[in-house]
Amino acid sequence: MIKKRSIPYILIIPLVVSFALFMFYPLYKVFENSFYEASFLNPFMRQFVGFENYKWLFNFKLFNPKWSYFMTALGRSLLWVGISVFLKIILGLGGSLLLNSKYLSGSKIYRTLVVVPWAIPWAMGAMMWAWTLNSQFGIVNSFLLKLNIINSPISFFSTPLTAFLSTIFVDVWAGLPFVIIMLLSGLQNISESLYEAATIDGAGDFVKFFKITLPILKPVVLTVSLLSLVWTFNSFDIIWILTRGGPLNSTETLPVAIYNVSFLMTRFGGIGKASAMTIAQVLLVTFISLIYIKILGKGAES
């Protein structure tokens, strides 16, 4: 006879086992590999090299003479993720407030529509945008030309700056629905009576937003932005399909660089070095997340 107290533990076993199998084991393998010299091009050679791969992160320079390959990709990644997450949260907040508004008729239709980008597989969404933003066939250029905003079509993916911004734009498009929906559910939990009380006290819309909506929504914003940060950091497919990290490596973020080091620049890199890059990324994202929770978490308590 199984004691009642042990039932929860038994029920949780499948989760723990699958978590260990599919999360910890691969992560452990990556961690282990990061101390070895190993490459797909030389599958039978595996040599322990200690911290050499981590030193390589800061020493190996490829196209950029000033910064190491890893640091260049890292810097680019931080900028890319920073802008993308910031836009997702700001636009997400605006979008969810709009959808929550009493004055918006047909909000149910919009709520359904807003999920669409999320429901489309990312790879397909990226393909769609590649053609939407195309300089010859894209509807965006067509509109801009018709409205006389531009004289000649813009090739969004052909210069480093526009490619960088365009990939962010597409990433924001793909990630926005999640943010909007989560924030919307947070908004709907705010009791109407709070606003009524504030109205009686003579508070305006801005005061209501900053004194009622935002403080109550803070935990949701915190969670959503954290998740969004982690996901955006790992974003690979959108960039890979749109630009493959080009032109001139301008969109080569850390995940793209890790892929390149594992599969394309194998002679310079290999799995060992790619693993070291991955571990560095994991540590960095964990570190940023912890700081984030600490700072914003405190704010939420007060």
Binding site: P247, T266, F268
Partner: protein
């Protein structure tokens, strides 16, 4: 009930243990005209002719083929027979991942193909694959735009540039030439067309890196010069997508496969062909890059005899001709050109140019790495970050390390 189950299990076990069905794992690509159905037909036919043999085909998209191959080799689970881009042969041979096939290639088999076809699968003096698909490329041009602008078919680079200039009319959305610049393998091949046409090479016959010699610099400068009369922002285009632009009838010319030319004809474009003219430093009047895909056998394969048999079956004259006709590939076997389909006017230039061709990746030890480096050089010159000489010097410096 339980008894029945036990009996069943014993039966299944017996069948598994005592059946001497031989299984051959074959890795095949999908996409770019390759369908699962077409390829499974070959497996089924082979199984029918060879009872007791099971062909297990695994399919993976072209974009993931390289990763799939090297990861499965690393994991010790490589497919027995692999369909590969011949440009990967040096790397795979160096890895010890595939076996040399010289002893299995009979003199008759050898004589079936053009010499240059064998060059694409030869590394260190040995044959590592049997060619399954081949492509050459020539210029496809819009006859109407040529006539309207009074342009003759170019036979030199000067004439080529002149033609592009004359047709170029961006206000009307008409471009002299369509070009590729996206970070993608076909962009490297597009550049190689000009590089080879100018007697340049990435790596020469002796394995020396020569991409930054005069011929190479001249070719890259010409590529950039020509791009001024191409559609704007060529860096967002890969060669595979250029047909969409050409089909609209707003592009003078571009370099591509025959099957894309046929697509344009279907859309009503009056299409003509001309061979890629040799550059100012060239000794030959014309040029093309010979690209092949081949079938290789993994060194982890335990059923070598069977693998060889299947490979020979797939690449027999009949099967090869059937395949080329179905997919619209340039015939790698000399005799194939006598087939009625290959007599058609649009096939002629593609077959004629074979004799001027040079393989895409001969002597290049690490294609994937070289590809990244060459793309970096092309991008930096197209974006005006570096001049052709310094960009190619930098590329050569890195390729030299990759060649070690």
């Amino acid at each position: 009930m339980r008894k029945v189950l036990v009996v069943l299990m014993v039966l299944v076990l017996a069948v598994v243990l005592f059946s001497n069905e031989k299984v051959l794992r074959v890795l095949m690509p999908i996409g770019g005209g390759y369908t699962i159905e077409d390829q499974e037909v070959i497996a089924k036919e082979f199984e029918k002719e060879n009872p007791g043999v099971k062909i297990e085909m695994e399919f993976v998209g072209w974009g993931e083929l390289w990763n799939k191959i090297i990861t499965s080799i690393g994991a010790g689970a490589a497919p027995d027979v692999m369909y590969i881009g011949s440009r990967w042969i040096p790397a795979l041979a160096e890895m010890g991942a595939i076996i040399p096939l010289d002893e299995y290639v009979s003199p008759e088999k050898r004589a079936l193909y053009y010499d240059t076809v064998w060059d694409t699968v030869t590394y260190n003096g040995k044959i590592w694959g049997i060619v399954r698909a081949m492509s050459t490329k020539v210029f496809i041009y819009n006859k109407k735009l040529f006539e309207e602008n009074n342009v003759k078919v170019p036979t030199t680079w000067d004439e080529l540039l002149e033609a592009a200039k004359k047709i170029y009319n961006p206000n009307e959305g008409i471009y002299g030439i369509a070009m590729a610049g996206k970070k993608f393998v076909s962009t490297v091949t597009q550049f190689q067309q000009y590089l080879y046409a100018n007697d340049g090479r990435i790596v020469d016959e002796n394995g020396e890196v020569v991409i930054n010699n005069e011929n190479g610099v001249e070719a890259l400068n010409f590529y950039v010069e020509l791009s001024k009369y191409a559609q704007p922002g060529i860096l967002e285009w890969k060669r595979e997508d250029l047909i969409k632009l050409f089909e609209t009838g707003k592009v003078g010319m571009y370099i591509d496969h025959v099957h894309n030319a046929l697509k344009a004809i279907e859309k009503g474009v009056d299409v003509g062909f001309f061979l890629i003219p040799g550059g100012p430093s060239s000794t030959k009047p014309y040029s093309t890059v010979i690209v092949t895909d081949s079938i290789a056998i993994s060194s982890q394969c335990k059923e070598k005899e069977l693998a060889i048999k299947f490979m020979e079956y797939m690449t027999s004259f009949e099967k090869q001709a059937e395949w080329d006709l179905k997919l619209g590939f340039v015939p790698p076997m000399i005799k194939e050109k006598e087939l009625p389909e290959f007599q058609k006017w649009y096939w002629k230039p593609y077959i004629e140019v074979i004799k001027y061709g040079y393989p895409e990746a001969v002597n290049i030890k690490d294609w994937e790495g070289v590809q990244e480096v060459v793309l970096e050089a092309i991008h930096s010159v197209l974006l005006g970050v570096a001049d052709a000489q310094s960009a190619l010097d930098q590329a050569a410096r890195i390729i030299e390390i990759l060649q070690k």
